[in-house]
């Protein structure tokens, strides 16, 4: 059971730290991170294992939105991407 966290917005110090910190608090294991900064525009995709997570996906999204602030954050179950983009 894995989920995808995406974070998009203006680059600043500590985004990755805050996101991974929030994941750690929820006991979500980070499996993979891809991130890039293009012209001050920050984009990150993080794959997490939610097997032992202590909260639901919507609560994790709320916590992330609260902790990181001013970024567009989505937390979605990976199945939606698998079903849309893989035959």
């Amino acid at each position: 059971m894995r989920a995808v966290i995406t974070v998009i917005g203006k680059d600043m110090v500590g985004i990755l730290a805050k996101v991974s910190g929030t994941c750690a608090e929820a006991n979500a294991n980070v499996i993979e991170v891809t991130q890039s900064v293009l012209q001050e525009f920050f984009a990150m995709v993080m794959l997490i294992d939610m097997e032992k997570m202590t909260c639901g996906l919507s609560e994790l999204q709320e916590r992330l939105t609260e902790n990181v602030g001013e970024m567009r954050i989505h937390v979605m179950h990976e199945n939606i991407f698998n079903s849309m983009h893989r035959i």
């Binding site: 995808v4 995709v45 999204q61 989505h74 698998n82 079903s83």
Partner: protein, 452 residues
């Protein structure tokens, strides 16, 4: 690992291009609720729907949170009530009230199935139900009615067509103080599908299982954006390819949500309806897709050809993406629910005659078309007959959902608000069809060979 650009594509579709699941509709058979006593029958109807659908809204919201995909409507369709009315006798209004009460208690915004299938004639209960439709739609908020007046195999029941002409007018008249909303909840079909999840025409056909989950997807905005990104220099073969690929992705999402909902609710998964269903939101318009293909204005010459291409490509892409496609499946062209259609109708580029031609190549028919309030009921019946004839001859579903705007004239606007949008009153050819409509009888089923 998932590809980053795929992930961003999905998120852009949902966030910026209005991709959503339009409806999860639970179909429930009420055949085992029949009782000789109408009060007991109504009690059984309430109890069965409540027990089956009490978790429907909760399950839908759970899926929304898990996948981050909006599910706009959770709805219920039931066995055509005329069948129950036939068994129990009594006033069909009692069923309408029971349906309204249970819909409100389980928290769905519409319940479909105040319906009758009368394409070949009337059986007991059918006439009573047809007669009670205007009152039922006026008295209830959530109940939707539909009537099947024709099929390719049995022809068109013109007696029923005449009755429905009057019912449409009466439904609008009884709700004149509420934007004539009654008529917006009434659909007259030819070749009605039994597994359609979309309101107002949803009902649970007698050939369906006891309880089933059907899903309707949406996504005109996604298709338009994909065509916009491709640019104007692609030829139409490539345009069709782009639409197919986009429809595939949209439908896969519907398939996943349907399977998930069916597992959560313990009901088998029925079908994905792969219709492109527009909303009045900016950028969520089927008319704008046609304009993106290359028309100055939807409704001009070329519209029928562009719509034919769109409709066919959506089906081809969607069919491969789902284990079971059904319902209406195609492009919807409801005037009041589509920003591009509204603009085209207001500018005079789109007229009812062109809409009628468009219905020959897309799913459904004259949908959410606002007509002058003083339109004669026989003219409405004749419009229904014309649409039914297109469906009957071409072996496809057609439907009519006209709203006579009581007290308004051509060019005025009728504002429904929400997903139903707003529609300009469109002009009609008012020469009288009364003698033909008054003849009644049946238009015989068409020959199935010598196709020209």
């Amino acid at each position: 690992m998932l590809n980053m650009s795929d992930i961003m594509e999905t998120i852009t579709m949902i966030q910026d291009e209005n991709l959503d699941i339009r409806t999860i509709t639970m179909g429930i058979s009420l055949l085992d609720c029949c009782d000789g006593d109408i009060s007991r029958s109504c009690e059984k109807v309430y109890a069965k729907i409540y027990s089956r659908a009490k978790d429907l809204v909760k399950a839908g919201e759970g899926i929304e949170r898990k996948y981050g995909i909006p599910i706009i409507n959770k709805r219920i369709s039931v066995t055509p009530i005329a069948m129950l009315a036939g068994a129990s006798g009594g006033d069909p209004m009692m069923y309408a009230r029971a349906l309204e009460r249970v819909a409100s208690d389980v928290g769905v915004n519409f319940i479909g199935g105040f319906s009758a299938l009368v394409h070949k004639g009337f059986s007991p209960g059918d006439r009573e139900l047809l007669g009670s439709i205007p009152e039922a739609l006026a008295e209830t908020e959530r109940v939707c009615a539909s009537v099947n007046v024709g099929t390719t195999k049995s022809g068109i029941n013109m007696d029923a067509v005449a009755i429905m002409g009057r019912a449409v007018k009466e439904a609008a008249r009884l709700t004149a103080s509420r934007q004539c909303i009654g008529a917006a909840k009434l659909v007259v079909f030819c070749n009605a599908p039994e597994d359609n999840p979309f309101m107002a025409g949803a009902f649970h056909g007698p050939g369906e299982p006891d309880c089933v989950i059907n899903v309707g997807v949406s996504g005109p905005g996604v298709v338009r954006a994909a065509l916009g990104k491709a640019g104007k220099d692609k030829d139409l073969t490539e345009v069709a390819e782009i639409i197919k690929k986009t429809a595939f992705k949209i439908t896969r999402m519907g398939q996943m949500v349907g399977s998930e909902a069916s597992a959560m609710l313990g009901a088998p998964f029925g079908i994905v309806d792969i219709s492109l269903a527009p909303t009045p939101a900016i950028g969520d318009s089927v008319a704008h897709i046609l304009e993106e293909i290359g028309l100055e204005r939807c409704g001009g010459h070329g519209t029928t050809a562009a719509l034919a291409l769109l409709n066919d490509a959506v089906k081809k892409g969607g069919v491969m993406a789902s284990s079971s496609v059904g319902g209406l499946s195609g492009a919807f062209i409801p005037v009041s629910e589509d920003a591009g259609m509204i603009a085209a109708a207001q500018s005079g580029a789109l007229c009812v005659e062109k809409l009628e031609a468009m219905t020959a190549v897309c799913s459904v028919g004259l949908d959410m078309v606002v007509v002058p309030g003083d339109t004669h009921e026989d003219v409405i019946a004749a419009i229904i007959a014309d649409e039914a004839a297109i469906g009957m001859i071409n072996g496809k579903t057609t439907a009519v959902r006209l709203i006579p705007a009581i007290g308004k004239k051509v060019g005025d606007m009728l504002e429904f608000g929400g997903l139903l949008g707003s529609g300009p009153v469109m002009g009609l050819n008012t020469s009288s069809p009364s003698v033909m409509v008054g003849r009644g009888g049946r238009i015989p089923a068409p020959i199935q060979s010598l196709k020209n």
